[in-house]
Point group: C2
Chain length 132, copies 2
DNA sequence: ATATTTATTTAGACAATGTCAAGACTAAAT
DNA sequence: ATTTAGTCTTGACATTGTCTAAATAAATAT
């Protein structure tokens, strides 16, 4: 991930210590963290940051298109630093979410859905990750 | 949907007025209701039913395999009377969820995922439903 | 530099979702 | 009638997420 300050400036967001702490964690994370995960990690760099600011910043990043948001697991939304189109695999044992590259799967038959105009889609898989 | 009492008996669940009210609504619903939706509808038939009992019953039905549960929209889990494999389409404007028959789509390439053992999968699409 | 205005953060209130435990209620079983 | 097991209700509780008012910080103007 590039410099957090320059990323924020590029998207016309004033870089503050709080926002920098949020961005530095969430945009480099590959674990699809929840807002609460982001809060606790951001507090390591900026111990005073509040819950409201973390939510405000995450929502702002999503609005600006810097960050993805997914509703894959119950209980809390998760945030996704990978903003390219991709699919997801959820480990049923651990709850961990893995990215599946877009071109690994092909979904055929969408043109047959006469009643629906599809803006976006993804495959969500659940199972067990094989040990390496 | 068949008789609620006989369904409950078949799955070794004692039929009570509360459970019957829940089952009669949730197993015939095609709208993917939330627990709160189920509660308010069940109270029409059984005005005294409590929130805890609705949650207990829904969780029991899911455990027994009579009812599906999905985490498709944020804020609350939704319950699915359709327990056959199928995909989902979410209307971005209304939030309505529609079932897409399993054989309308084909997902190819799962065998290439060497690191993952896939137990189940579905395609989730978002967009706008065309007016009829 | 000081004053003014604007942007941001914080703390806490609030609503909604979901789980849990204690006691009340019901229906068998003894 | 008593015990027992199963079920239900109430309310407490934790968590997620939003919102508002007050405090702070930053930018601008004088
Ligand atoms: Mn997490
Ligand atoms: Mn609903
Ligand atoms: Zn992802
Ligand atoms: Zn469905």
């Amino acid at each position: 991930m590039k410099n957090a300050i320059s990323i924020l400036r590029r998207y016309d967001i004033q870089p503050t210590p709080q926002r920098i702490a949020v961005v530095e964690y969430v945009l480099k994370s590959k674990t699809h963290p929840s807002a609460d995960d982001v809060l606790s990690h951001a507090r390591k760099k900026c111990p005073t940051v509040s819950r409201a600011t973390v939510y405000n910043t995450l929502n702002l990043l999503v609005e600006k298109g810097l960050l993805g948001m997914q509703t894959i697991k119950e209980g809390a939304v998760i945030f996704d630093s990978n903003i390219k189109k991709h699919h997801h695999f959820v480990d049923s044992d651990t709850g961990d979410i893995y990215d599946i590259p877009w071109d690994q799967l092909e979904v055929k038959g969408r043109e047959k859905l006469k009643d629906f105009e599809v803006f976006e889609f993804q495959v969500i898989m659940r199972g067990r990750r094989k040990k390496k």
